[in-house]
Amino acid sequence: MRSPGIVMAVALLVAAALLPAVTGDYYTAFGTEIAITVLMLSSYRIIVLTGEWSFAHVVLQGVGAYTAAILVKDLDWPFPVTLAAGAAMAALVAALLSYPLLRMKGFYFLMGSFAAAEAIRLLWRKIPFFGGTRGLSNIPAPYLEIGDFSIDFGDPAHFYHLSLGVVACCLFVMWRMEQARVGGIWRAIQQQDVLAQTVGIESRTYRRLAFVVAAAFAGIAGVLLVYAFGSVTPNRFNLNFALYLMIWAIVGGTRTFYGVVLGGVVLMIFDESLRFAEELRPGIYGLILIGVMLFWPQGLEKLLMPLTRLLGNRARRSDPA
């Protein structure tokens, strides 16, 4: 027992793993969606740590999703390989995009990331290889067979456990990175870009690194998404989803590692409870976003602050304000 934080994290993970035991398939599948969203938000936070807001993150998730879908459908590759390939492809695309994009900052970066991402997404719609506007469907769930022992991940509970495991590993890696020197450098760039450069930190290299690392995790989230839904369409990665990711990160708060995880869970549940008012949903988010920016710029996190303090994580600055 090194710190209360790790104990709490493990306890939460065990509690989350018990979800299929207490609810039906519908909420178990919803639990998988929460896990994927938490991975998206936590990886998005890496970019936010360096002080940028990106519209490309959701499309990079799509790169991972399409990579896995094609590898499974055409080549019948097993799950772990598609997972790695999805992450690698998303990271590769991000690395290529990072050369032009990270010469920009602020609004210019936001618009540049939008242009690049939207162009990629429209290409998916246009090229028959990617299934056009209807995308790719009928993607089989992973299946594990070792001798007599076999698990069919088509079962929502099994797939939920698989996703939870993958997401937990990713979160752990991200947490370690943030504690390490590189995490400190990202925060330094966000706060004092010029000062960081004068002490010999190649800030553009580290911003590029953050963009690529975040994309790799987004790619993993995309692979999980493909298996969870059995299909992938270009519309799942349009500007609205990019906006929602940004809104959730802002409303949830991005200061602490735990904050963004807990914020993601709370917001997903809130989102689900709005399902009865599908058409009103954007407006409700709009009002919440305006309210948070005006009156509560630290987001939900502030509400959860006592809890995060309990988790032994000191508050770190990376709010949008």
């Binding site: 807001w53 032009p100 010469r103 920009m104 900052k105 602020g106 609004f107 210019y108 936001l110 618009m111 540049g112 242009a115 690049a116 939207e118 162009a119 429209l122 290409l123 719609r125 246009k126 500007l239 906006l243 940004m246 809104i247 802002i250 058409e279 009103l280 949903r281 954007p282 407006g283 409700i284 988010y285 709009g286 009002l287 919440i288 976003l289 305006i290 920016m293 005006l294 710029p297 949008p320 304000a321």
Partner: protein, 288 residues
């Protein structure tokens, strides 16, 4: 030949409408350093008000146009007074707030007239002017002329009046303008009303031609951002030139090739401008 002539007319009309929307966006960026993502939704509101006044209430189209300008100008003023003013020192916060306004206005339009309704606005100028092989629908001609007229008025306002000088002074140097006794708040409200009113006017002008829907602002705002980045963010002259160049390019590519390809090409142009020419055609980039 027929297609070429029709496309030329369409390109001219698209240029006019895009220019009206883009100069408002450029004006607000110049004065307030805010990128208004809700600007396309003001265009949408303009079209809805025109429909409401002219079709639903059965009044004159021109009353609808005036109503559209008034309503959007009031929304613009409300955005400045209730939202932007509180976050003056925080441009990123303002940008995020405009995304919130975008979502609220979209949902408002859905509540107002439903998500899939067919809303029709009759043009005050039906029929077509035929000159040889050239078919020129009167309303399209009206859109082009009205847009040119409105731009002339805007440029006269900015160049020749005390108010215009104040606006340009604030755009050049906020602190120095403030030291000369110019009220930043008053100039901001006026600029916001002008910008929003222009977007509303563009929506009203296009209402008889395009399909009115809660999401009609989205392609417009994307086009407008491409245009103001091409023209140089904050430059009104640049926005007008870029509107003509981009809309003509876009109309021709989508007529002769495909509209998705045209959008991809447009996005690539925007990226190329951001990478190689961040000042755009006429603007001054802040720091890239």
């Amino acid at each position: 030949m027929q297609i070429l002539l029709d496309t030329l007319v369409n390109a001219a009309m698209a240029s006019a409408a895009t220019a009206l929307v883009s100069i408002g966006l450029a004006l607000i960026f110049g004065v307030m350093r805010i990128e208004n993502f809700a600007h396309g939704e003001l265009y949408m509101v303009g079209a809805y008000v025109t429909w409401y006044v002219s079709t639903s209430l059965g009044m004159n189209y021109f009353l609808g146009l005036v109503g559209a300008v008034l309503v959007t100008a009031l929304i613009g003023a409300a955005m400045e007074i209730a939202l932007f003013r509180r976050l003056r020192s925080n441009p990123v916060g303002c940008l995020i707030i405009t995304i919130g306004v975008l979502l609220v206005l979209q949902t408002g339009a859905i509540l107002f007239a439903g998500i899939n309704s067919t809303l029709l606005v009759d043009s005050p100028f039906p029929g077509t002017l035929k000159i040889g092989a050239l078919n020129l629908p009167w309303h399209r001609l009206f859109v082009i002329l009205a847009a040119i007229g409105l731009m002339q008025v805007l440029i006269w306002l900015l160049r020749r009046t005390m108010f215009g000088r104040a606006v340009r002074a604030v755009a050049q140097d906020r602190e120095a303008a403030s030291l000369q006794g110019i009220s930043i708040s008053r100039v901001s409200v006026a600029a916001m009303m002008l910008s929003a009113g222009l977007a509303g006017a563009a929506g009203a002008l296009m209402a008889p031609i395009v399909r009115i829907s809660p999401f009609m602002g989205q392609p417009i705002i994307i086009t407008a951002f491409i245009v103001i980045i091409m023209g140089g963010i904050g430059s009104i002259e640049g926005a007008i030139i870029a509107s003509v160049l981009y809309s003509t390019f876009f109309t021709f590519v989508s007529t002769y090739v495909d509209s998705t390809i045209a959008t991809i090409a447009g996005l690539c142009i925007m990226l190329a401008v951001l990478i190689f020419m961040p000042n755009g055609l006429m603007g001054k980039a802040e720091k890239v």
